[in-house]
């Protein structure tokens, strides 16, 4: 191998789970580090300051992993900087690629969220009816500032060109183990691609009826996970549990169905699909055996867009400022 390849990792609006997925590489992480120079890994691992980052020459970094969605100006700023500094920029994990679960915030206005956080919640003590201010003066002399709280979540692609996408909330470390070498040492797929097998969860799921030589049946009832217990080895979707396996990249190895929980779609859409939720609607609605079932699907937006609302065609709830 030539001299060490340069890696940069930035966790912006992310929960840190994607960082932990790399930590979970465990010993292999240390081996990987032998071939890698970690230029920075902030904020979780390295003590890198802004100036170090800016000092880096453009396209100096071979691989940049951006995890977390874009919410603050700072996120956007870093995203753009990473774009400049990195030869290859990857939207790493559901949040960066699709907006992630926090993207569900796009269903609510800024005001709704503030009201809930600082007024409606039961243990809140707010005698003066305050909300945090971007600029305020405490006890007459201490002037303090806070960044603006933004209403909605964007994906990395909304602010910069992204070379590759990796799904998963977070990506399973075994997949990270495959993906990182691909990105570093192997021939890269066309820019804009997802790093994925390109196949759905069903492809790796043992519950898939087709694999047992059975014909898939229509869905005759809608069940919530707390209703009844799924038959061992039977397809959850067919049993009426809203499993998004058919619509979701299966690079996880179908972890959730293995423990009797329907796939929630964190892997992201199969390449070529523009809108995860709409694909799910088209695929699943057609399977329903009667019209009544349509209305029995609980909170469909939060089910079908649990991880991908900001990446959807509509991006956020409409009719709000």
């Amino acid at each position: 191998m030539p001299d060490k390849l340069k890696l940069a990792y930035f966790l912006s609006g992310g929960c840190g789970g994607c960082d932990m997925a790399i930590i979970d590489l465990s010993e292999t992480l240390i081996d990987l580090l032998l071939h890698l120079e970690v230029v920075f890994w902030v904020p979780t691992i390295t003590d890198t300051k802004y100036k170090d980052l800016e000092a880096i020459p453009d396209r100096f970094i071979d691989l940049g992993l951006y995890s977390g969605m874009v919410r603050l100006q700072e996120h956007e700023y870093i995203a753009k900087m990473m774009r400049r500094k990195c030869k290859v920029l990857v939207a790493y994990g559901a949040c960066a690629a699709l907006g992630g679960i926090p993207g569900l915030g796009n269903m609510h206005t800024r005001e709704e969220i503030l009201k809930t956080a600082y007024f409606d919640t039961s243990s809140t003590d707010n005698p003066e009816g305050l909300t945090p201010q971007t600029r305020c003066v405490v006890s007459g002399k201490y002037e303090l500032t806070l960044p603006e709280f933004y209403g909605h979540v964007r994906t990395l692609q909304d602010v910069v060109d992204v070379d590759y996408f990796i799904g998963g909330c977070p990506p399973h470390h075994s997949f990270v183990r495959q993906a990182i070498p691909v990105l570093l040492f192997e021939k890269l797929p066309a820019p804009g691609s997802w790093i994925t097998s390109g196949k759905a969860v069903c492809d790796v799921c043992d519950r898939n009826p087709v694999k047992k030589g059975e014909e898939r049946q229509l869905i005759r009832e809608i069940k919530r996970t707390l209703e009844g217990a799924p038959d061992e080895g039977k397809c959850l979707l067919q049993e009426g549990y809203l499993c998004l396996g058919p619509v979701t990249q299966g690079d996880c190895g179908s972890l959730c169905p293995k423990v009797n929980i329907p796939c929630m779609g964190c892997g992201g859409p199969i390449p070529g699909v523009r809108d995860f939720g709409l694909r799910a609607i088209s695929a699943i609605a057609g399977l329903l055996s009667s019209e009544e079932l349509v209305d029995q699907i609980p909170s469909p937006v939060k089910y079908f867009y649990r991880y991908s609302l900001p990446a959807s065609m509509l991006r956020k709830k409409l009719g709000k400022v």
Binding site: G277, I281, I284, A285, G286, E291, V301, M313, L318
Partner: protein
């Protein structure tokens, strides 16, 4: 000052509604020119993406025309269509889309008059709602 006229996309099944539209024309039943038809082989071909794309790119209303229940040329296509349409409508409603801009009707090849009437009425309904906010909203 230009006046706004709605722009309505109609997905018409080749075997019924598309015929119905032809019939309306040949019998000279008039309806507003805001109505613009895209021919599909069956209402079961229509993807939710089509409807959202139309709304996003600027349609003020989207209409789906299929065969009457039990008369689908492809047996069940219209049934699949209504399942998808209803679920999509639930989702779009929650997403803040005015569902008055979306409509599905069964219009047979002999329903020339009915086609014209429904289109005239749908156009009125869409006019009431005004221009589709999605254009600005989403493209912003």
């Amino acid at each position: 000052m230009r006046v706004w006229v709605p722009n309505i996309v109609v997905f018409a099944c080749n075997w019924c509604t598309y015929q119905g539209a032809d019939l309306a024309g040949s019998l000279r039943y008039s309806y507003p020119p805001s109505i613009k038809i895209i021919r599909v082989p069956c209402s079961g071909r229509i993807e939710p993406e089509f409807i959202v794309t139309a709304l996003k790119t600027g349609a003020d209303g989207v209409f789906i025309g299929g065969c009457h229940p039990g008369e689908c040329h492809h047996k069940e296509g219209n049934y699949k269509a209504v399942l998808r349409f209803n679920l999509l409508k639930r989702v779009l409603k929650m997403m803040g889309v005015e569902t008055g801009r979306l409509r599905l009707e069964w219009i047979s090849g002999s329903d020339g008059k009915r086609f014209a009437d429904i289109m005239t009425e749908f156009d009125k309904a869409v006019q009431k709602l005004g221009p589709n906010p999605l254009r600005s909203d989403v493209n912003a």
